[in-house]
């Protein structure tokens, strides 16, 4: 380790190149386990390791990428442990003392819970078999590589760390869109993995050097650990049905300067690279000093799909407090019954309302917290994008949560209580969590600042032993109610001020301040703003409270916090710059016309009523506003200036307007006889969205629509045609198997000697098919209106 650290200060450490693609060139047949084949061909494997060493690799990977129980499957009767030991020892023997061997652990090929059906602890156990073998084979360090699922990377890293202190490098595979296939971005992955104590983090495979260097640039500013890169030899190309990588060694190595500038510390090659690529790389990097790590501390949290970094001058972070059964009878009842519908709803609502992190507290009488938290993590890790905070006084519950959670969570909280502090800090360190430091020692809450300072320093000193610096966790500035002592709020503000000055990040539980007082929302908001002024970093509060959120955003803006201006003004930018104003309309008509074109359903009612109250006649509104607006919308849609939702939006708004005007038109006797059209999706077909659009359009264009719905038999359709004496029938079908049912309806109509005309449509229906039926074809709602107008 010391040797590695010293070397890292001097130069980029050279890794090896591809194993799999090289072995295929050396005779490994397709579809055969490379690990088993290597056991049978140790000389070839030795030769490849030696070629990499000769080319300049400081570290070679053992040929154990797929040597786990799942991948080996039935192909071997030898235990994974023995296979790993043998392959590691071949590598060690091949490269001798001057090069290091990294025990290589690749994916199992299965998705792990909560994202797949392989149990997390089962995955850890499977990786442990590999780790034991690799340790017995004498590896110097470990590499967990080509991970596409953050949870699998966590499982492998935990398996190693539970058995040895040897350094572990973790590298993940990111797609062209910059995410893993599991949906994790590089910074999020870095935060989670470095939090768990990986020695280095980076990426391999998937992309060529061009794309990978961009990923390295993104993660370097947040890395507390050295960075690793192992790109493929360019992008894969398909030749004669096979994927090939054809970037030459010289071209590959020409990217080394960019990687150096981006901050790479370990550099090698993945698919398609060879000893020749490594040799060129070594040559190009000779004498070049790499960038060291930029960060010593990073207060950050992550989920599987997002992260939150507590940065200086950032807006206040909101930790949603609503998942807490205290005082919530229904939530308690549901949790007892393992019904998580309300919990899920609360989580989603808080996320939508702008919470940055969610606090999860499920402690209630009758709830088996340990068992339940497991189910809650499984659910929320999949459904909630923002990071989570576990809020419990039970150490076992916290461990259950942290073990399964595929991110870097917050522990709420760790106090200076001697009984728990060591255990909880060790859990935080092992699972890479951050925590809220609670400045109390026992049950009594210190009121004075001096006592609070003492407790915070005790926590900080102990945390340092587990690798946490004062910038790595949050200090709770302890909010006590102003109702019991009016000096309490001032003590909290003083604690925030001192903590910030001392280099800590801070948090408060907001609502305590107003406990027992009237006008709680106002007090909460004002106190929050005062705390923000003192530099508060985060607040545990109700993000569904509009007053709290508005106060927070306003203070962020007034204190010129990063990005706060855009957030504050986001709701105020409803300007419409597209719709052409129609000339010669009275002001109110003009307003209504705009509402229609903008599809502002909520404004229509007021618009119509205002127009009528001002003396505009209902028929005038129809003739001068509604019909022209619909006509213009149709034209805009035909020209593709409008897309489908805009067309529907206007149609829905017009329907609201017609609904108000209809009774008034009747009273003025200015109504026309409407043509009836029966609409249905045919028997066997349950898709009806297209038919619904047609119905809406026809209604707005003066047709009386009898919508029978979906999955309607020919008999029923004909029965209704007769009942309403409908001259027109519209039929819809989405599938080839159900389209044929249209014929049954047409035939039955003929048999019954009905003179009705048919309009057909739907995804699979064509003009030709319509012609065969003797019907007219309509491609969409507007086309249906045009056809119906011609037929009526």
């Amino acid at each position: 380790m010391e040797k590695l650290n010293n070397l890292l200060k001097k130069r980029v450490i050279i890794l090896d190149g591809a194993m799999g693609t090289q072995l295929h060139k050396m005779g490994l047949p397709p579809g055969v386990s490379p690990e088993i084949w290597c056991l049978d061909n140790p000389d070839i494997l030795t030769k490849l390791h030696q070629e990499y060493k000769k080319a300049g690799s400081d570290i070679v990977y053992s040929a154990t990428f797929g040597a786990n129980r799942i991948k080996l499957g039935q192909s071997s009767k030898v235990s994974p442990e023995k296979i790993n030991k043998k392959l590691a020892s071949i590598a060690k023997k091949a490269v001798g003392k001057n090069s290091l061997v990294a025990g290589d652990i690749g994916p199992t090929g299965k998705l792990i819970e909560p994202f797949g059906n392989l149990k997390f602890n089962q995955a850890v156990a499977i990786f442990k078999e590999q780790v034991k073998g690799l340790l017995a084979g004498g590896v110097d360090l470990f590499v967990v590589e080509t991970m596409i699922d953050i949870q699998e990377a966590r499982a492998a890293l935990l398996a190693i760390k539970e058995l040895t202190d040897k350094p572990v490098m973790v590298s993940m595979t990111f797609e062209k869109d910059g995410f893993t296939l599991g949906g994790t971005d590089p910074i999020t992955a870095l935060i989670t993995i470095q939090g768990m104590g990986a020695f280095a983090f980076g990426c391999n495979c998937s992309t060529g050097p061009e794309a990978m260097v961009e990923i390295i640039k993104k993660i370097k500013p947040y890395a507390k650990v050295p960075i690793l890169a192992k790109p493929n030899a360019g992008l894969p190309k398909l030749r004669a049905g096979e994927t090939v990588f054809d970037m030459t060694p010289a071209k590959f190595a020409s990217f080394s300067k960019q990687f150096l500038l981006a901050g790479v510390n370990f550099f090698g090659g993945c698919c398609g690279t060879s000893p020749a690529h490594i040799k060129e790389l070594k040559k190009n990097l000779k004498g070049k000093k790499p960038k060291g790590t930029i960060r010593k501390n990073l207060a950050a949290v992550s989920s599987a799909r997002s992260h939150f970094i507590f940065e200086k001058n950032d807006s206040l972070a909101v930790i949603g407090e609503c998942i807490n059964p205290t005082g919530k009878k229904e939530l308690s009842r549901q949790l007892k019954n393992k019904d998580f519908s309300l919990l899920r709803e609360l989580a989603k609502k808080q996320q939508s309302a702008g919470a940055d992190i969610l606090d999860i507290n499920i402690g209630a009488v009758g709830v088996d917290e340990k068992e339940t938290i497991f189910e809650v993590v499984k659910l929320l890790a999949k459904d909630i994008k923002i990071p989570l905070e576990v809020d419990s006084s039970n150490v076992e519950v916290i461990e259950e949560f942290l073990r399964l959670y595929p991110g870097k969570a917050i522990i709420n909280s760790i106090s200076a209580d001697r009984k728990k502090i060591k255990k909880l800090l060790s859990l935080a360190s092992k699972y890479g969590a951050t925590f809220i430091g609670l400045p109390i020692t026992g049950k009594s809450i210190p009121k004075s600042l001096s006592e609070r300072k003492k407790n915070i320093e005790t926590i900080s000193k102990e945390a340092k032993k587990y690798g946490f610096n004062r910038d790595d966790f949050l200090v709770d500035a302890l909010v006590l109610s102003a109702s019991s002592d009016s000096k309490n709020p001032a003590q909290t503000l003083a604690t925030i001020k001192w903590a910030k000055k001392s280099g800590y990040k801070t948090v408060i539980g907001l609502s305590n301040v107003s406990f027992g007082l009237p006008k709680r929302k106002t007090i909460n908001s004002v106190f929050l703003n005062l705390a923000q002024k003192e530099g508060l970093d985060s607040v545990i509060a109700n993000p569904l409270s509009i007053q709290t959120m508005e106060a927070k955003k306003a203070a962020d803006f007034l204190l010129a916090k990063k990005g706060s201006k855009e957030v504050f003004f986001a709701d105020l930018t409803k300007k419409n710059e597209i719709y052409p104003a129609k000339k010669n309309l009275k002001e109110l008509e003009e307003k209504l016309y705009q509402f229609l074109l903008e599809g502002q359903k909520d404004q229509i009612k007021t618009g119509v009523n205002e127009a009528i109250a001002s003396g505009i006649k209902p028929y005038s509104l129809v003739d001068r506003v509604l019909i022209p607006a619909l006509k213009q919308t149709g034209e805009l849609f035909d020209k593709r200036i409008y897309f489908l939702p805009q067309l529907i939006s206007t149609a829905e708004a017009a329907k609201v307007a017609f609904g108000i005007l209809q009774p008034k038109l009747k009273s003025t006797a200015k109504t026309r006889q409407k043509t009836v059209i029966v609409l249905a999706t045919v028997k066997g077909d349950i898709h009806d969205i297209g038919k619904n659009i047609v119905a809406l359009m026809l209604e707005n264009h003066g047709f009386k629509v009898i919508d029978l719905g979906k999955d309607i038999s020919a008999d029923k359709i004909i029965q209704e045609v007769k009942r309403y004496k409908a001259p027109l029938v519209g039929l819809s079908a989405l599938m080839t198997t159900t389209m044929v049912k249209m014929e049954d309806v047409v035939k039955l109509a003929k048999k019954e000697k009905l003179g009705c005309k048919f309009i057909v449509g739907g995804a699979v229906v064509t003009k030709n098919y319509a012609r065969q039926l003797g019907a007219k074809y309509a491609s969409d709602g507007l086309a249906a209106v045009k056809v119906a107008n011609k037929l009526k």
Partner: protein, 204 residues
Amino acid sequence: MDLEFFESINLSPPKDKIYLRLKYSKDKTKLSQAELAKFESYIDFALDKINLQGSAAIISIKEKTDSEIILEGDIVIKSNSIKKFLIDCKSVLFMGATTGSDIMKVISSGSGKKELEKSVVADAVASEVVDAALGWIADYKARILRRENRFITQQRFSAGYGDFDLSYQKVIYNVLNLAKLGVQLKESYILKPEKTVTALCGIK
């Protein structure tokens, strides 16, 4: 047979395809900021209601005759299109993906025509996302297979196309054990929730 379930598929929503499906034209369609925010909120709402899950199974090809392909487990496929599609392939990758039923409630809310706009957007989102999920599964499997020097065909084939009869939906449904994901197969071979798709690829 190697059957695997994906209990939560996380993918970047294919926004371009969603807008295209809604007849959006990059060059022509104009949206105000407020409208864009509204439709984006509809898309987000729809995405929030999607619980994307899937399963995949790799089955070896036992035999190819003039008229049929026989897979491990004595699954027989009689289709010239599939035979041609699976030329040079040694196994078949079956894939299925579903959005779950919550999104169907949003889509069918348009049946009363009260929220048609929202349901039309939800329909487009669900259709594109579930299709992208098949792509995700194919990518996931391709990545693993490539390390074994095995490759999957670039194209996918679904029942109901060419002479690969829709009735094979039943075979695929059973192979993928889609019932475990809450998917039902109706008499007319329609899968329910409706935003459920299946396909197969060849493995070379």
